[in-house]
Symmetry: C2
Subunit: 230 residues, 2 copies
Amino acid sequence: MSAPQDTDSRRRLNREVVLQTALQLVDSEGLEALSMRRLGQALDRDPMGLYRYAANRADLLDGITELVLNELAIFPTDPDWQAQLRRIAHDLRLLALRHPNVVPLLVTRPLSTPLGLRPLGTLRPLEQILGLLIEAGFAPNDALHVYRAYYGFLYGHILNELQEFIVDPEENVALLRLGLHRLPARDFPHLRELAPVLADYDGEAELDEGISILLSGLAERLTGGAALAR
Amino acid sequence: MSAPQDTDSRRRLNREVVLQTALQLVDSEGLEALSMRRLGQALDRDPMGLYRYAANRADLLDGITELVLNELAIFPTDPDWQAQLRRIAHDLRLLALRHPNVVPLLVTRPLSTPLGLRPLGTLRPLEQILGLLIEAGFAPNDALHVYRAYYGFLYGHILNELQEFIVDPEENVALLRLGLHRLPARDFPHLRELAPVLADYDGEAELDEGISILLSGLAERLTGGAALAR
DNA sequence: CGAACGCCTCTACACCGTAGACTCTAGGCG
DNA sequence: CGCCTAGAGTCTACGGTGTAGAGGCGTTCG
């Protein structure tokens, strides 16, 4: 008897646990804090041991993006594809707000790996959204185009919002003012004028509006043009 | 006489030269290759000397993004704002294709710095596009919203395209096939089916189409709704 | 001529990813 | 029971990183 799993931090490791801990580390201390040594320390294990569960630091990063994207639910058989796209957009937005430090990985990792060789979990959303659209009646070609417009817009919005995201509203209105005050009035009149509007960014509304624009634009273009669905 | 500027690589340094060299290094060897030591070597100077022209490695990265964004021309007084937005989009796309290794910086650096404290060169496009829209008759508030939708979409597209971008078309169709072949057919039917379409991505057309969708969507929304211009 | 200043260089420190060899432990099999 | 094997975990070491701090050197000014 007497298993040696003392503090319970000494259980046998597995990839899942390693990645999860890495994610926590990134969430709480930022991407730069994630080193093999720090992670080993967090797991109370020698850093070298981690290479049993991730071939690389790069592989570790890929694993984290996979982990995060797995939190995103998609139901490819929902007949109301527009509503579904809208919901996914909001979910992904919340996901990004929950893991802001991971967002750079989300947008950056795929740039280093050709599509076919990416971690499977990363390709799942693409596949499922294609499924959703095709199920809704789109020709596969059009589905791909819709997907691209949609996902492009979505990632763009998330980057936009996170750029303007500020932690403590009170202190940072000041900071923002201070920052903007630094701008030479001669060269940045509009930005300075818009400071108050910049200060209260409503990401959810903005996203929803954007999606509406996109969907209505898509609808118009597709009904007017060639192949369509629904 | 006989100035000691022997190889001409020994001229007096300045920030511009340092950043330009750093950019070349990143362009040709990737972001990871940019270290103070490597850069010092490229400039034939002690790495420590660089700290006279960039406070930090981070500052160096900011400088590079600034440098690249300065290549983007915007004419805020053009009365045809739609055409102008379209041209800027295509120019930025080409810029991204010319400096693909810098794109991660473009999308990632702003996430680490509150808007007001960013390098001025980085804020110039924002300011000028606001100017363009306001000049065209938009209320400042609306101009900001239009800007966000536009820039969000634009960055999204660039990320999309660069993700699917593949250097050598011949070799990489094979590679793509190989990669996609790896996908379990059961779980990724649509992706596998779309392989040929994925293979010939026409970024320019796709972007133009997207911009059209966006602009028509914007027009519809704004004519139907409240304040508008033009 | 001496002092001051800016550019540059050197050395040093703490950290990083990871290759390779080692130890230890649990389990299977004779 | 005893041995063997395989895998998990560890240790050490190497070449790289950012950058603090002190020193050197040439030019320019008082």
